[in-house]
Symmetry: C2
Subunit: 203 residues, 2 copies
Protein backbone atom coordinates (compact mmCIF):
# COMPACT_ATOMS: atom_id res chain seq x y z
CA UNK A 1 0.00 0.00 0.00
CA UNK A 2 2.90 2.32 0.75
CA UNK A 3 4.71 1.54 -2.47
CA UNK A 4 1.46 1.93 -4.22
CA UNK A 5 0.78 5.46 -3.03
CA UNK A 6 4.34 6.48 -3.73
CA UNK A 7 4.02 5.23 -7.28
CA UNK A 8 0.66 6.92 -7.70
CA UNK A 9 2.15 10.22 -6.59
CA UNK A 10 4.92 9.86 -9.15
CA UNK A 11 2.40 9.03 -11.88
CA UNK A 12 0.26 12.02 -11.05
CA UNK A 13 3.35 14.22 -10.80
CA UNK A 14 4.33 13.21 -14.32
CA UNK A 15 0.84 14.07 -15.51
CA UNK A 16 0.70 17.49 -13.84
CA UNK A 17 4.33 18.46 -14.35
CA UNK A 18 4.02 17.69 -18.06
CA UNK A 19 0.92 19.85 -18.35
CA UNK A 20 1.66 22.79 -16.09
CA UNK A 21 5.37 22.50 -15.49
CA UNK A 22 7.15 22.03 -12.20
CA UNK A 23 6.55 25.56 -10.98
CA UNK A 24 2.94 25.58 -12.12
CA UNK A 25 2.10 22.43 -10.19
CA UNK A 26 1.16 22.62 -6.52
CA UNK A 27 1.13 19.86 -3.96
CA UNK A 28 -2.44 20.42 -2.84
CA UNK A 29 -3.91 19.81 -6.30
CA UNK A 30 -1.54 16.94 -6.95
CA UNK A 31 -2.47 15.03 -3.82
CA UNK A 32 -6.16 15.96 -4.12
CA UNK A 33 -6.21 14.17 -7.48
CA UNK A 34 -5.27 11.05 -5.53
CA UNK A 35 -7.83 11.59 -2.77
CA UNK A 36 -5.23 12.72 -0.27
CA UNK A 37 -4.42 15.94 1.55
CA UNK A 38 -1.12 17.59 0.87
CA UNK A 39 0.54 16.74 4.17
CA UNK A 40 0.21 13.05 3.33
CA UNK A 41 2.64 13.50 0.49
CA UNK A 42 5.43 14.17 2.97
CA UNK A 43 5.14 10.61 4.28
CA UNK A 44 6.48 9.46 0.91
CA UNK A 45 8.71 12.32 -0.26
CA UNK A 46 10.83 14.82 1.58
CA UNK A 47 9.76 17.73 -0.57
CA UNK A 48 8.33 18.77 -3.90
CA UNK A 49 11.84 18.75 -5.32
CA UNK A 50 12.26 15.21 -4.04
CA UNK A 51 9.29 14.19 -6.19
CA UNK A 52 10.92 15.84 -9.16
CA UNK A 53 14.23 14.08 -8.59
CA UNK A 54 12.59 10.71 -8.04
CA UNK A 55 10.57 11.15 -11.19
CA UNK A 56 13.69 11.94 -13.15
CA UNK A 57 15.50 8.96 -11.62
CA UNK A 58 12.65 6.79 -12.82
CA UNK A 59 12.66 8.25 -16.31
CA UNK A 60 16.42 7.89 -16.65
CA UNK A 61 16.30 4.29 -15.42
CA UNK A 62 13.43 3.50 -17.76
CA UNK A 63 15.27 4.94 -20.73
CA UNK A 64 18.47 3.09 -19.88
CA UNK A 65 16.59 -0.17 -19.51
CA UNK A 66 14.57 0.10 -22.71
CA UNK A 67 16.83 1.99 -25.08
CA UNK A 68 20.24 2.04 -23.43
CA UNK A 69 21.79 -1.27 -24.43
CA UNK A 70 22.39 -3.06 -27.69
CA UNK A 71 19.97 -5.82 -26.66
CA UNK A 72 17.01 -3.51 -27.11
CA UNK A 73 17.82 -2.59 -30.68
CA UNK A 74 15.02 -3.44 -33.09
CA UNK A 75 15.73 -6.06 -35.78
CA UNK A 76 17.12 -4.89 -39.09
CA UNK A 77 14.29 -4.95 -41.65
CA UNK A 78 14.55 -7.40 -44.54
CA UNK A 79 13.05 -5.09 -47.11
CA UNK A 80 12.43 -1.44 -47.82
CA UNK A 81 8.75 -1.96 -47.12
CA UNK A 82 9.84 -3.46 -43.82
CA UNK A 83 11.62 -0.24 -42.92
CA UNK A 84 8.52 1.82 -43.66
CA UNK A 85 6.34 -0.60 -41.70
CA UNK A 86 8.66 -0.61 -38.71
CA UNK A 87 8.87 3.17 -38.76
CA UNK A 88 5.11 3.55 -38.85
CA UNK A 89 4.65 1.11 -35.99
CA UNK A 90 7.18 2.89 -33.82
CA UNK A 91 5.74 6.28 -34.71
CA UNK A 92 2.21 5.16 -33.94
CA UNK A 93 3.17 3.87 -30.53
CA UNK A 94 5.21 6.88 -29.51
CA UNK A 95 2.53 9.29 -30.68
CA UNK A 96 -0.37 7.54 -28.95
CA UNK A 97 1.16 6.22 -25.72
CA UNK A 98 0.09 8.66 -23.04
CA UNK A 99 3.02 7.93 -20.77
CA UNK A 100 5.54 8.54 -23.54
CA UNK A 101 3.75 11.73 -24.56
CA UNK A 102 3.87 13.07 -21.03
CA UNK A 103 7.55 12.17 -20.70
CA UNK A 104 8.34 14.05 -23.90
CA UNK A 105 6.33 17.09 -22.85
CA UNK A 106 7.99 17.16 -19.46
CA UNK A 107 11.47 17.04 -20.96
CA UNK A 108 10.51 19.72 -23.46
CA UNK A 109 9.21 22.05 -20.78
CA UNK A 110 11.91 21.56 -18.17
CA UNK A 111 14.99 21.08 -20.34
CA UNK A 112 16.33 24.55 -19.57
CA UNK A 113 15.79 24.33 -15.83
CA UNK A 114 17.29 20.95 -14.95
CA UNK A 115 20.60 19.51 -16.04
CA UNK A 116 19.45 15.90 -16.11
CA UNK A 117 16.29 16.77 -18.02
CA UNK A 118 18.52 18.54 -20.53
CA UNK A 119 20.64 15.46 -21.09
CA UNK A 120 17.69 13.13 -21.30
CA UNK A 121 15.97 15.45 -23.75
CA UNK A 122 18.89 15.26 -26.14
CA UNK A 123 18.85 11.47 -25.92
CA UNK A 124 15.08 11.25 -26.40
CA UNK A 125 14.84 13.77 -29.20
CA UNK A 126 18.06 13.34 -31.07
CA UNK A 127 20.94 11.00 -30.29
CA UNK A 128 18.89 8.00 -29.17
CA UNK A 129 17.00 7.87 -32.45
CA UNK A 130 20.09 8.56 -34.51
CA UNK A 131 22.05 5.79 -32.80
CA UNK A 132 19.22 3.32 -33.26
CA UNK A 133 18.83 3.99 -36.95
CA UNK A 134 22.55 4.15 -37.55
CA UNK A 135 22.63 0.52 -36.54
CA UNK A 136 19.58 -0.29 -38.64
CA UNK A 137 20.91 1.44 -41.72
CA UNK A 138 24.31 -0.21 -41.37
CA UNK A 139 22.52 -3.54 -41.38
CA UNK A 140 20.40 -2.61 -44.38
CA UNK A 141 23.43 -1.45 -46.32
CA UNK A 142 25.12 -4.77 -45.61
CA UNK A 143 22.02 -6.53 -46.87
CA UNK A 144 22.13 -4.47 -50.06
CA UNK A 145 18.87 -2.71 -49.27
CA UNK A 146 20.28 0.78 -48.94
CA UNK A 147 22.76 2.77 -50.95
CA UNK A 148 26.28 2.83 -49.50
CA UNK A 149 26.46 6.10 -47.63
CA UNK A 150 27.35 7.42 -44.21
CA UNK A 151 24.87 5.47 -42.07
CA UNK A 152 24.96 8.03 -39.27
CA UNK A 153 24.18 10.88 -41.63
CA UNK A 154 21.32 8.91 -43.13
CA UNK A 155 20.02 8.03 -39.69
CA UNK A 156 20.06 11.68 -38.71
CA UNK A 157 18.39 12.74 -41.95
CA UNK A 158 15.74 10.07 -41.43
CA UNK A 159 14.90 10.47 -37.75
CA UNK A 160 15.06 14.23 -37.30
CA UNK A 161 12.08 15.02 -39.55
CA UNK A 162 10.04 12.26 -37.95
CA UNK A 163 10.95 13.59 -34.53
CA UNK A 164 9.78 17.04 -35.61
CA UNK A 165 6.37 15.63 -36.54
CA UNK A 166 6.14 13.77 -33.24
CA UNK A 167 6.72 17.06 -31.47
CA UNK A 168 4.00 18.58 -33.62
CA UNK A 169 1.58 15.92 -32.39
CA UNK A 170 2.49 16.71 -28.80
CA UNK A 171 1.86 20.39 -29.44
CA UNK A 172 -1.25 20.10 -31.61
CA UNK A 173 -2.88 16.70 -31.14
CA UNK A 174 -5.61 17.54 -33.65
CA UNK A 175 -2.97 17.32 -36.36
CA UNK A 176 -2.02 13.76 -35.41
CA UNK A 177 -3.60 12.08 -38.43
CA UNK A 178 -2.02 14.51 -40.85
CA UNK A 179 1.33 14.09 -39.13
CA UNK A 180 1.18 10.31 -39.39
CA UNK A 181 0.37 10.57 -43.09
CA UNK A 182 3.31 12.86 -43.49
CA UNK A 183 5.61 10.47 -41.67
CA UNK A 184 4.51 7.72 -44.04
CA UNK A 185 5.05 9.91 -47.10
CA UNK A 186 8.45 10.96 -45.80
CA UNK A 187 9.51 7.40 -45.06
CA UNK A 188 8.48 6.27 -48.54
CA UNK A 189 10.27 9.19 -50.10
CA UNK A 190 13.39 8.29 -48.15
CA UNK A 191 13.17 4.71 -49.37
CA UNK A 192 12.78 5.90 -52.95
CA UNK A 193 15.82 8.13 -52.57
CA UNK A 194 18.22 5.86 -50.71
CA UNK A 195 16.76 2.38 -51.14
CA UNK A 196 17.96 -0.24 -53.59
CA UNK A 197 15.19 -2.13 -55.36
CA UNK A 198 15.77 -5.85 -55.82
CA UNK A 199 16.92 -6.52 -59.37
CA UNK A 200 18.37 -3.08 -59.88
CA UNK A 201 22.11 -2.88 -60.36
CA UNK A 202 24.10 -0.53 -58.17
CA UNK A 203 27.79 0.09 -57.71
Amino acid sequence: MARDTKERILDEALRQFSQKGYDGTNIRELTASLGLVKSSMYKHFKSKEDIWNSLLDKMIAYYAEHFGSAENLPPVPDSLEGLVAMTMKMAYVTIHDEMIIMTRKLLTIEQFRDERARELATKHFLTGLTDMFTHIFEGMMNKGLLRRDDPEMLAFAYTAPISALIHLCDREPEKTDAAISQIKAFSEHFVLTFGIRNGGEQL
Copy 2:
Protein backbone atom coordinates in the same frame (compact mmCIF):
# COMPACT_ATOMS: atom_id res chain seq x y z
CA MET B 1 11.00 57.74 -20.81
CA ALA B 2 7.70 55.92 -20.33
CA ARG B 3 7.92 54.02 -23.60
CA ASP B 4 11.45 53.22 -22.77
CA THR B 5 10.72 51.60 -19.43
CA LYS B 6 7.81 49.68 -20.91
CA GLU B 7 10.09 48.31 -23.61
CA ARG B 8 12.78 47.50 -21.09
CA ILE B 9 10.28 45.55 -19.01
CA LEU B 10 9.25 43.55 -22.08
CA ASP B 11 12.89 42.83 -22.93
CA GLU B 12 13.66 41.67 -19.43
CA ALA B 13 10.47 39.62 -19.35
CA LEU B 14 11.56 37.81 -22.50
CA ARG B 15 14.90 37.12 -20.88
CA GLN B 16 13.50 35.79 -17.62
CA PHE B 17 10.46 34.01 -19.04
CA SER B 18 12.70 32.18 -21.50
CA GLN B 19 14.99 31.05 -18.71
CA LYS B 20 12.64 30.29 -15.85
CA GLY B 21 9.26 30.14 -17.53
CA TYR B 22 6.24 32.31 -16.84
CA ASP B 23 5.41 30.70 -13.51
CA GLY B 24 9.02 30.63 -12.40
CA THR B 25 9.47 34.35 -12.97
CA ASN B 26 8.46 36.86 -10.31
CA ILE B 27 7.83 40.55 -10.64
CA ARG B 28 10.23 41.58 -7.90
CA GLU B 29 13.26 40.03 -9.56
CA LEU B 30 12.17 41.19 -12.97
CA THR B 31 11.85 44.85 -11.98
CA ALA B 32 14.93 44.70 -9.74
CA SER B 33 16.98 43.76 -12.82
CA LEU B 34 15.91 47.12 -14.23
CA GLY B 35 16.66 49.03 -11.03
CA LEU B 36 13.00 49.40 -10.12
CA VAL B 37 10.77 48.14 -7.35
CA LYS B 38 7.98 45.78 -8.23
CA SER B 39 5.12 48.21 -7.75
CA SER B 40 6.54 50.43 -10.50
CA MET B 41 5.74 47.77 -13.04
CA TYR B 42 2.03 48.38 -12.56
CA LYS B 43 2.43 51.88 -14.01
CA HIS B 44 3.12 50.19 -17.34
CA PHE B 45 1.21 46.93 -17.27
CA LYS B 46 -2.05 45.93 -15.64
CA SER B 47 -0.73 42.61 -14.39
CA LYS B 48 1.89 39.93 -14.89
CA GLU B 49 -0.39 38.28 -17.44
CA ASP B 50 -0.61 41.60 -19.26
CA ILE B 51 3.17 41.51 -19.69
CA TRP B 52 2.90 38.01 -21.08
CA ASN B 53 0.19 38.98 -23.56
CA SER B 54 2.02 42.11 -24.66
CA LEU B 55 5.19 40.10 -25.16
CA LEU B 56 3.35 37.58 -27.29
CA ASP B 57 1.70 40.36 -29.30
CA LYS B 58 5.14 41.73 -30.00
CA MET B 59 6.55 38.35 -31.00
CA ILE B 60 3.63 37.60 -33.30
CA ALA B 61 3.88 41.01 -34.94
CA TYR B 62 7.64 40.62 -35.37
CA TYR B 63 7.26 37.22 -36.97
CA ALA B 64 4.53 38.43 -39.32
CA GLU B 65 6.63 41.40 -40.33
CA HIS B 66 9.85 39.51 -40.96
CA PHE B 67 8.71 36.11 -42.16
CA GLY B 68 5.02 36.45 -42.90
CA SER B 69 4.93 37.80 -46.43
CA ALA B 70 6.43 36.78 -49.75
CA GLU B 71 8.53 39.96 -49.81
CA ASN B 72 10.75 38.63 -47.06
CA LEU B 73 11.66 35.43 -48.87
CA PRO B 74 15.39 35.03 -49.39
CA PRO B 75 16.71 34.96 -52.98
CA VAL B 76 16.93 31.62 -54.75
CA PRO B 77 20.59 30.55 -54.80
CA ASP B 78 22.32 30.32 -58.16
CA SER B 79 24.37 27.28 -57.30
CA LEU B 80 24.47 24.32 -54.98
CA GLU B 81 27.33 25.94 -53.10
CA GLY B 82 25.10 28.98 -52.79
CA LEU B 83 22.46 26.90 -51.05
CA VAL B 84 25.00 25.60 -48.56
CA ALA B 85 26.36 29.09 -47.97
CA MET B 86 22.91 30.60 -47.46
CA THR B 87 21.98 27.81 -45.10
CA MET B 88 25.11 28.28 -43.02
CA LYS B 89 24.60 32.02 -42.82
CA MET B 90 20.99 31.66 -41.69
CA ALA B 91 21.94 28.94 -39.23
CA TYR B 92 24.76 31.01 -37.78
CA VAL B 93 22.53 34.00 -37.21
CA THR B 94 19.66 32.09 -35.67
CA ILE B 95 22.00 30.14 -33.38
CA HIS B 96 23.94 33.16 -32.13
CA ASP B 97 21.34 35.95 -31.97
CA GLU B 98 20.39 36.18 -28.31
CA MET B 99 16.94 37.62 -28.98
CA ILE B 100 16.06 34.80 -31.37
CA ILE B 101 17.40 32.20 -28.94
CA MET B 102 15.27 33.56 -26.12
CA THR B 103 12.21 33.65 -28.35
CA ARG B 104 12.72 30.03 -29.30
CA LYS B 105 13.25 28.95 -25.71
CA LEU B 106 10.16 30.81 -24.57
CA LEU B 107 7.99 29.17 -27.22
CA THR B 108 9.47 25.79 -26.36
CA ILE B 109 8.76 26.17 -22.67
CA GLU B 110 5.28 27.70 -22.87
CA GLN B 111 3.85 25.95 -25.93
CA PHE B 112 1.62 23.68 -23.85
CA ARG B 113 0.27 26.45 -21.64
CA ASP B 114 -0.72 29.13 -24.13
CA GLU B 115 -2.67 28.77 -27.34
CA ARG B 116 -0.91 31.55 -29.20
CA ALA B 117 2.52 30.32 -28.12
CA ARG B 118 1.52 26.92 -29.46
CA GLU B 119 0.66 28.31 -32.90
CA LEU B 120 3.75 30.47 -33.08
CA ALA B 121 5.92 27.53 -32.06
CA THR B 122 4.68 25.46 -34.98
CA LYS B 123 5.42 28.34 -37.36
CA HIS B 124 8.86 28.95 -35.90
CA PHE B 125 9.94 25.34 -35.67
CA LEU B 126 8.22 23.71 -38.62
CA THR B 127 5.92 25.32 -41.17
CA GLY B 128 7.74 28.62 -41.50
CA LEU B 129 10.98 26.95 -42.49
CA THR B 130 9.26 24.43 -44.73
CA ASP B 131 7.37 27.14 -46.58
CA MET B 132 10.49 29.21 -47.08
CA PHE B 133 12.52 26.34 -48.49
CA THR B 134 9.66 25.03 -50.57
CA HIS B 135 9.86 28.29 -52.46
CA ILE B 136 13.65 28.12 -52.66
CA PHE B 137 13.70 24.52 -53.89
CA GLU B 138 11.01 25.23 -56.50
CA GLY B 139 13.23 27.98 -57.83
CA MET B 140 16.31 25.75 -57.79
CA MET B 141 14.48 22.99 -59.63
CA ASN B 142 13.42 25.48 -62.28
CA LYS B 143 17.04 26.55 -62.61
CA GLY B 144 18.08 22.94 -63.08
CA LEU B 145 20.06 22.90 -59.83
CA LEU B 146 17.96 20.33 -58.02
CA ARG B 147 16.45 17.04 -59.05
CA ARG B 148 12.78 17.22 -59.95
CA ASP B 149 10.98 16.08 -56.83
CA ASP B 150 8.24 17.24 -54.49
CA PRO B 151 9.68 20.58 -53.35
CA GLU B 152 7.67 20.60 -50.14
CA MET B 153 8.90 17.16 -49.19
CA LEU B 154 12.46 18.17 -49.89
CA ALA B 155 12.03 21.37 -47.92
CA PHE B 156 10.73 19.40 -44.96
CA ALA B 157 13.51 16.83 -45.24
CA TYR B 158 16.06 19.64 -45.42
CA THR B 159 14.84 21.99 -42.70
CA ALA B 160 13.69 19.56 -40.00
CA PRO B 161 17.16 18.12 -39.26
CA ILE B 162 18.66 21.60 -39.19
CA SER B 163 15.90 22.72 -36.86
CA ALA B 164 16.69 19.79 -34.58
CA LEU B 165 20.32 20.91 -34.35
CA ILE B 166 19.28 24.48 -33.62
CA HIS B 167 17.20 23.16 -30.73
CA LEU B 168 20.25 21.23 -29.58
CA CYS B 169 22.24 24.47 -29.46
CA ASP B 170 19.52 26.10 -27.37
CA ARG B 171 19.60 23.16 -25.00
CA GLU B 172 23.36 22.58 -24.85
CA PRO B 173 25.21 25.68 -26.03
CA GLU B 174 28.58 24.00 -25.51
CA LYS B 175 27.73 21.79 -28.49
CA THR B 176 27.22 24.77 -30.79
CA ASP B 177 30.41 24.31 -32.81
CA ALA B 178 29.77 20.61 -33.32
CA ALA B 179 26.18 21.36 -34.33
CA ILE B 180 27.24 23.93 -36.89
CA SER B 181 29.70 21.45 -38.37
CA GLN B 182 26.94 18.90 -38.53
CA ILE B 183 24.61 21.36 -40.26
CA LYS B 184 27.31 21.97 -42.85
CA ALA B 185 27.89 18.27 -43.37
CA PHE B 186 24.17 17.64 -43.63
CA SER B 187 23.67 20.45 -46.11
CA GLU B 188 26.51 19.17 -48.28
CA HIS B 189 25.16 15.66 -48.10
CA PHE B 190 21.76 16.94 -49.16
CA VAL B 191 23.31 18.74 -52.11
CA LEU B 192 25.17 15.59 -53.12
CA THR B 193 21.95 13.60 -52.95
CA PHE B 194 19.47 15.93 -54.62
CA GLY B 195 21.65 18.46 -56.43
CA ILE B 196 22.46 18.43 -60.14
CA ARG B 197 26.08 19.18 -60.97
CA ASN B 198 26.59 21.40 -64.00
CA GLY B 199 27.62 19.28 -66.94
CA GLY B 200 26.04 16.11 -65.61
CA GLU B 201 23.15 14.64 -67.56
CA GLN B 202 19.93 13.84 -65.77
CA LEU B 203 16.51 12.59 -66.85
